[in-house]
């Protein structure tokens, strides 16, 4: 590539927020002239995106030089929410934060500081570094039930030791052309309109690449999505009934004998015995006085006796033929005799409750459609499942994930080419504590983790998910029990409008806390309630590392914008101030420490932009459980208590949770609350992606806003007609929590019984002053979505399975936004610093 202008320099780097907002991974060529970004394109040589780049990546020139960007640190000079700000220097900002937060730490303890981040972007490592240097374990992901990705990752860590994702050859530089890769015959796309977005660190259109080569689709979605339109089978399930449908798949696959018996016997804990008296797993300690609690028991068909599965040795003492099925009488250490059955039979007993006919009653999916889809999935070799946030956004997330994970395992699709492949961090480079993995950045002393919010209540938070539980955090801000929350550090997150549900509560919470810092690219409702606002940098303005599966990637600082500072630099400076013994002297040293397992220094890695781990490395597929690449002891198997994929979960038993998958109704479903359903007869769903926006971001970017200008409610044309609502008319969506205003889009994309409200809507072009707060209470469905209904294990929340009624707005109001508005109106906070800009676009 060469620019016509000789003074244009082209840099290769990696997309990973801020800017496009997404989970990143795309390789780009950034064209820079006189220190300014003039153009950005996809890198045709990058294996990840192969030259492609989405609208949010391509809009970087409008994002990076947007007149409303926060360009200098600011401090509040009026009351909270008054929108009165004064520009300050970085030195003053750092000094103020240091003084204030140290004083709060001295008086209330380090755990009184809560550090809130948003979705998986280049923030986790740095916010953990800062929180841990402060001495607080309370890093929170500001979404109710932490209901995005983390619950599925935790579930996978719980049941199979590692996370799995659909295989698109993303581990191999030659991708689909690599002979080791195999094209999946079928992909089941479950609750994921992936074409419109790339969440969970996957490039959505990889699925489309594979469809072109012949992959078939099973679509599980209440919406008639692009995938549903092209699927062999489309299962239009009722939101919130996911686990029942997954159990229905297991029912068909097992009853029709479509499972991989060899895999089940060898690699799952199906043969381990379950006590009939307690329904708990039989342990060696039950049989032998000094036996281990961590060894499990099978019935040896050869010896007609129990045999001990030693989880330290990952072996039986002798040659054993474990029974997969059956009832066996065993003798306990005290001589008592007891009936046991295998974990496989226990699972079957549960699965039997979910016949396709029974599942039809719960899910509204026709029994025959389920049978056909299950047969296609189970007979496709290989097949994969791609699951989306719809799984997390139900309080029953963990059992749902358990059922689906069992499905891909018992059909022999775990870590095989074209199946659900185990996603390891490249070269085992783990920057910070993630569900299931501890990283370079950690708390100095494990004792500091003791007060982490929610860890006392929820086993999965204690063992795997090293975050504060969000709903409990919000509750604790008000109750101050068992200790008060005194400061909030909010970075690359927008709890008041995007991540937060029940926005009025978050508004009160932000106002109640003594000291709030917000770091972001643009002012939001959250920043309006902060004391200090710091200007963050986009991915083109920072040096950093991206360690999220494969490949290992880097970002390069190629431009700077006024006084905007990259999150790693901001947090590094404050970490040093908070912790006098902070072990790293500069950022480069910590970047080196993070990438050290790759055998490269950060600079070396940055010079080559990205790197793929070689064959034989645990982060390189396939069939790693056979090769002893998954466990720390290098033995075959998985990193679980039994070393097997756990159909019956030992962790869940230890945490007092159901050890087998099951369906439980969400709290506001028509089945659970027929009373509410009478008054609110439409199912309210939310969270569908817009290609133009990343959650609440990009409403102020002219190119992007023009693609999706108004908050939209999808409603079936017949439902709309029956309510006297015309296409494009403004409507009120109401439930027990309040009302919001939307523009109706009459479309068969939704069933007659459900509406889909776009989430995270606000109007950056409007007044930011409290209580208007850029209109966050007007057209944002989050406002009528509750907090505090997280799952029994603290994970998942009823975000996509609520109820509402819809009616036409009484009097016509002006459209909320017309093109050109955002160029004319500037929020007060921005006017002070908006630079005089010459026309951003010429008219061609």
């Amino acid at each position: 590539m060469s620019g016509k202008d000789s003074d244009v320099q082209i840099f290769r780097t990696t997309v990973w927020s801020g800017g496009p907002g997404c989970h990143g991974g795309c390789g780009v060529l950034a064209h820079v002239k006189e220190g300014k970004l003039v153009k950005i394109e996809g890198d045709p040589d990058h294996p990840w995106n192969q030259g492609r780049l989405c609208v949010r990546g391509l809009a970087m020139t409008q994002i990076i030089d947007h007149p409303d960007r926060i360009r200098y640190p600011m401090k509040r000079v009026g009351e909270r929410g008054e929108d009165k700000w004064k520009r300050i220097s970085w030195e003053e900002a750092f000094d103020t934060i240091e003084t204030k937060m140290k004083a709060l730490r001295d008086e209330f303890g380090p755990e009184s500081g809560v550090f809130i981040m948003g979705t998986g972007r280049d923030i986790g490592a740095w916010i953990c570094m800062l929180a841990y240097a402060y001495g607080s374990p309370n890093v929170a992901f500001g979404l109710s039930g932490n209901a995005c990705y983390g619950p599925r990752v935790s579930a996978c860590a719980t049941f199979q030791g590692d996370y799995s994702v659909f295989d698109a050859g993303q581990w191999l530089p030659k991708r689909y052309e690599d002979p080791r890769f195999k094209l999946p015959e079928t992909i089941m796309v479950w609750g994921y309109n992936i074409g419109a977005c790339c969440p969970d660190n996957l490039f959505g259109h990889w699925i489309i690449d594979m469809m072109k080569k012949g992959t078939k689709i099973i679509s599980v979605d209440p919406r008639f999505t692009w995938f549903a339109s092209r699927a062999e089978h489309w299962l239009q399930l009722r939101p919130g009934s996911e686990a029942a449908l997954a159990m229905g798949f297991l029912n068909v696959v097992i009853n029709e004998n479509l499972y991989d018996k060899e895999f089940v016997e060898k690699w799952t804990n199906a043969p381990h015995l379950i006590r009939e008296d307690t329904n708990k797993i039989l342990r060696e300690s039950h049989l032998i006085k000094d036996g281990s609690e961590e060894n499990f028991i099978v019935w040896d068909e050869t010896a007609k006796a129990t045999a001990i599965w030693n989880t330290t040795e990952m072996a039986f003492a002798n040659s054993v033929k474990p029974a997969l099925s059956g009832r066996f009488k065993v003798t306990l250490a005290d001589g008592k005799k007891l009936w046991c059955r295998t974990a496989w039979d226990s699972l079957l007993k549960e699965v039997e409750k979910y016949s396709p006919d029974e599942v039809e009653k719960i899910t509204w999916v026709k029994a025959d459609d389920l049978r056909k889809a299950a047969r296609l999935y189970a007979t496709s070799k290989p097949a994969s499942i791609q699951w989306g946030e719809a799984i997390d956004m139900s309080p029953n997330v963990t059992p749902t994930a358990h059922a689906l994970l069992i499905l891909w395992n018992i059909t022999g699709n775990n870590d095989v080419p074209g199946g659900n492949v185990i996603a390891r961090y490249a070269y085992d480079v783990v920057a910070y504590a993630l569900p299931g993995a501890k990283g370079v950045i950690k708390l100095k002393d494990q004792a500091l983790d003791e007060p982490r919010i929610g860890a006392d209540r929820y086993g999965v938070f204690k063992n795997f998910y090293w975050r504060a539980q969000t709903d409990v955090t919000l509750e604790q801000i008000f109750t101050e029990k068992p200790y008060p929350i005194k400061s909030l550090w909010i970075q690359a997150a927008n709890p008041l409008g995007a991540l937060g549900m029940d926005l009025k509560q978050w508004r009160e919470a932000l106002k109640k806390v003594d000291f709030v810092v917000h770091t972001d690219l643009f002012m939001t409702a959250t920043s309006q309630l902060a004391d200090i606002v710091l200007p963050a940098a986009t991915f083109l303005e920072k040096d950093s590392v991206r360690s999220w599966w494969v490949p290992l990637q880097t970002m390069k600082k190629i431009v700077t914008v006024d006084e905007c500072k990259p999150d790693p630099e901001i947090n590094f400076e404050l970490a040093k101030r908070f912790d006098p013994d902070f072990q790293y002297k500069d950022l480069n040293e910590i970047l080196d420490a993070i990438v050290e397992p790759s055998g490269m220094t950060f600079k070396q890695l940055q010079d080559q932009v990205y790197s793929y781990p070689p064959e034989g490395h645990p982060s390189h597929p396939y069939r790693r459980y056979e090769k002893g690449l998954l466990r720390k002891d290098k033995k075959q198997g998985f990193q679980t208590p039994s070393g097997k994929v756990e159909l019956y979960s030992v962790h869940r038993e230890n945490w007092g949770m159901e050890a087998l998958p099951l369906h439980e109704e969400p709290p506001f479903s028509p089945i659970r609350r027929p009373d509410l359903f009478k008054e609110y007869p439409l199912l309210l769903n939310t969270g569908r992606r817009s290609p133009a926006f990343f959650n609440s971001e990009h409403r102020q970017i002219p190119w992007l806003r023009a693609l999706d200008p108004d908050p939209t409610l999808e409603i079936h044309p017949e439902t709309a007609a029956s309510l006297g609502i015309g296409n494009g008319e403004w409507v009120i969506v109401e439930n027990w929590m309040g009302k919001v205003r939307y523009k109706a889009k009459a479309t068969k994309a939704v069933p007659r019984w459900m509406v889909m409200a776009a989430h995270g809507w606000w109007f950056p072009e409007r007044n930011g002053k409290d209580p208007e707060l850029y209109g966050i209470f007007e057209s944002n469905v989050n406002h009528i979505t509750p907090m505090g209904y997280q799952g029994k294990d603290g994970l998942g929340a009823p975000i996509k399975n609520l109820l509402c009624k819809v009616y036409k707005e009484a009097s016509a109001q002006e459209p909320l936004w017309v093109p050109g508005d955002m160029e004319k109106k500037k929020p007060a906070a921005r006017q002070a610093q908006a630079k005089k800009k010459k026309g951003e676009h010429h008219n061609g």
Binding site: I40, V55, L58, L707
Partner: protein, 114 residues
């Protein structure tokens, strides 16, 4: 030069267009168009079919502003929309060749912009 005599066009395999709008913004960036203007427009078509069925199609349509990225093509690059299309469903080339490519393919349309 040969290009002056050749008629160029865009072949769209709309079976795979997902409606991601990339072609539009790729064009807006390339040619510096303001918001709402681009050499491509993506049209959503929800087709009603018998038995309460439907088909959801997106059709990228080259507008009056499409110049087939003559400048890029001269440099040996693909048009901005073609390179960035997330579904890789747009092909640029001489219309005779594109017409041949259509043979045997479903759901394709060949555009020759102004």
């Amino acid at each position: 030069m040969a290009e002056e005599k050749t008629d160029y066009g865009l072949l769209i395999n709309y079976e795979y267009c997902t409606g991601c709008f990339t072609c539009m913004i790729a064009c807006s960036q390339e040619h510096n168009w303001p918001a709402g203007m681009a050499g491509m427009k993506v049209i959503e078509v929800m087709e009603d079919l018998p038995k309460d069925k439907a088909y959801l199609a997106y059709i990228p349509f080259p507008t009056e502003l499409c110049v087939l990225c003559a400048g890029r093509v001269k440099k040996g690059l693909k048009p901005a929309c073609v390179q960035h299309c997330m579904a890789a469903c747009i092909t640029h080339g001489p219309i005779e060749e594109l017409a041949k490519e259509m043979k045997g393919k479903k759901r394709t349309v060949l555009w020759k912009p102004r």
